[in-house]
C-alpha cells in the first residue's frame, strides 16, 4: 500500500483481520483488508460512494469500526464528506446509513482543517442498538435504533468559533474524538476543538472537565479499558500551533473522571515541537493497560504501566495518524 494515505488501521478482534482506511490521491478511497497481519493486502472491494446525483462525494475513508460479536461480517466506515457506511460482507460492498445525512442539522456541517470528515464511530458497549458518531464539524450524534434514526447530542459542548450568543448550538460543533467507558454505562469522554468533556448519561448532557489541563485543544481521548474514572488526553497548545504546551511532550491522566489531571512524561522527549493526531492514541485491554501513541514527527511511544512511564518503540516513521493495539493472528 505504499503511496496510499492510511487514515486508520484497525484489527477486527472477531477474526484477526486487519482493515485499512486506504486512500489514494489518484485512485480514490477504499477499505482494504489483510488476512496475514499486514504482509499482503487485497485491492479493496467496491468503495463507499454516495449515489449518482448526490451533491457530495466520498473522497476519503477516515475510520473503520468492526461490528458487534453477533454481527460477524459487519463493519462501519466513516467517510469524507461526512457520512456513515455499513458493510455486511467484510468490506466488499458498502451501503450508506443515509438517515444520518438526512438529519435536518446536516446543513450545519462544515469542513474543518482536516476536511469534512466523520472520524469517530462508537458502538455502545451496553446497548446493542445504541451507537454514536462524531464529525468535524457537525458534532456528536446518537442512534438508539441501530442507525435508523439519529439525533445530535451536543448539549453543553461549546462551539468557540461561533458568535458569543450562539456557542451552544444543537449541532455544528467541532468534536475531535469520543471514547466510551466499557465498564460504566453511559460514560463518555470527549475531546472537542476547544474543551474536554464528560457525559454520564450517554451524551444527553456534557460537562467540561478541562480545568486542570495546560490547554483545552487536542485530538485524541482514551477511556481506560477497566477504570471508569480514568481517561487520557494529549493537550496541544492551540488550534493554530498544534504542538505541546511548554515544548513538553506529555500525556495527561485523570483518575477522578476529570476532576483533576496529572502530567505523565517520564521517558518522553523534551523539548518537543510535534503533535498527536486524533486516531494516533490507543489503549490495549491488558492489565495493567498498555498505552500507545504516535507523533506527527514519526515516533511511537508505549507505556506498560498505565502512563506512568513511556518508551520510544519506533522513530523516524512518516507522520503517524493511526495507532491501534492488535494481536498477531
Amino acid at each position: 500500500m505504499e503511496g496510499w494515505e492510511i487514515l486508520h488501521l484497525v484489527q477486527d478482534r472477531r477474526t484477526g483481520v486487519l482493515y485499512a482506511a486506504a486512500n489514494s490521491p489518484f485512485y480514490g478511497p477504499s477499505v482494504r483488508r489483510s488476512d496475514d497481519f499486514g504482509r499482503t493486502w487485497d485491492r479493496g472491494g467496491t468503495p463507499p460512494a454516495y449515489p449518482e446525483g448526490d451533491p457530495e462525494k466520498v473522497t476519503r475513508v477516515w475510520h473503520i469500526t468492526p461490528g458487534r460479536e453477533g454481527e460477524p461480517h459487519r463493519l462501519y466506515a466513516g467517510v469524507e464528506a461526512s457520512g456513515l457506511f455499513v458493510s455486511d460482507d467484510e468490506a466488499e460492498t458498502w451501503t450508506e446509513v443515509a438517515s444520518l445525512r438526512r438529519h435536518p442539522t446536516h446543513d450545519s456541517w462544515w469542513p474543518g482543517n482536516g476536511g469534512k470528515c466523520l472520524h469517530t464511530i462508537v458502538l455502545d458497549p451496553f446497548d446493542e442498538r445504541c451507537m454514536f458518531i462524531a464529525c468535524s464539524t457537525g458534532g456528536i450524534y446518537r442512534s438508539d435504533d441501530a442507525g435508523e434514526t439519529w439525533r445530535p447530542v451536543n448539549r453543553g459542548i461549546r462551539a468557540e468559533f461561533m458568535p458569543e450568543d450562539q456557542q451552544f448550538p444543537e449541532a455544528g460543533q467541532c468534536v475531535h474524538k469520543v471514547s466510551a467507558s466499557s465498564v460504566q454505562r453511559g460514560r463518555l469522554y470527549l475531546q472537542n476543538h476547544g474543551g474536554v468533556y464528560r457525559s454520564d448519561d450517554g451524551g444527553e448532557h456534557w460537562q467540561p472537565i478541562d480545568a486542570g489541563l495546560p490547554a483545552n485543544f487536542g485530538f485524541p481521548v482514551v477511556a481506560h479499558p477497566r477504570k471508569p474514572d480514568t481517561a487520557y488526553v494529549i493537550p496541544l497548545i492551540s488550534a493554530e500551533r498544534r504542538r505541546f504546551p511548554n515544548e513538553r511532550l506529555a500525556v495527561w491522566r485523570t483518575d477522578d473522571a476529570g476532576g483533576t489531571w496529572r502530567e505523565l512524561r517520564e521517558g518522553l522527549a523534551e523539548p518537543s515541537y510535534v503533535g498527536v493526531m486524533r486516531d494516533a492514541f490507543a489503549a490495549d485491554d491488558a492489565d495493567p493497560a498498555g498505552l500507545y501513541f504516535g507523533t506527527t514527527s514519526g515516533s511511537v511511544y508505549a507505556s506498560f504501566d498505565e502512563g506512568e512511564s513511556w518508551m520510544e518503540v519506533a522513530r523516524d516513521l512518516p507522520r503517524i495518524v493511526s495507532i491501534e493495539a492488535a494481536r498477531p493472528a
Partner: protein, 96 residues
Amino acid sequence: MIWVHLPRDLAQLMGLDGTEVEVAGAATVGELIDALDRRIPGIRHRLVESDGAIRPHVNIFVGECNARMDGGLALPLDGAGEVWILRAVSGGAAPP
C-alpha cells in the same frame, strides 16, 4: 483493437503482470472503461467517481485529448489504436 496503457501502480494494484491491456469494441472513453472493467473487475472505481466524472488526478489521453478536460467519458475514441491512462502531476495535492 485498442491498446490501453495503465499506470504501473494501478496495474500492480489490480494484479496484472504488465501495464498494457488490449480492449475491443469501445467507441468512447466510457465504453473503454466498461470494457476494461469486464476484463479487470473493480478498475472502474479506481478511475471514475460515483457521478461518472473521471477522478480528478487521473488523465486519460486519446491522442492529444485529455478526456478529463475534454468530453469526459463521452469523448470518442475515433479509431485510436491506443489510449494512455496516466497519473496527473497534481496528485500530490490534497483531495478536492
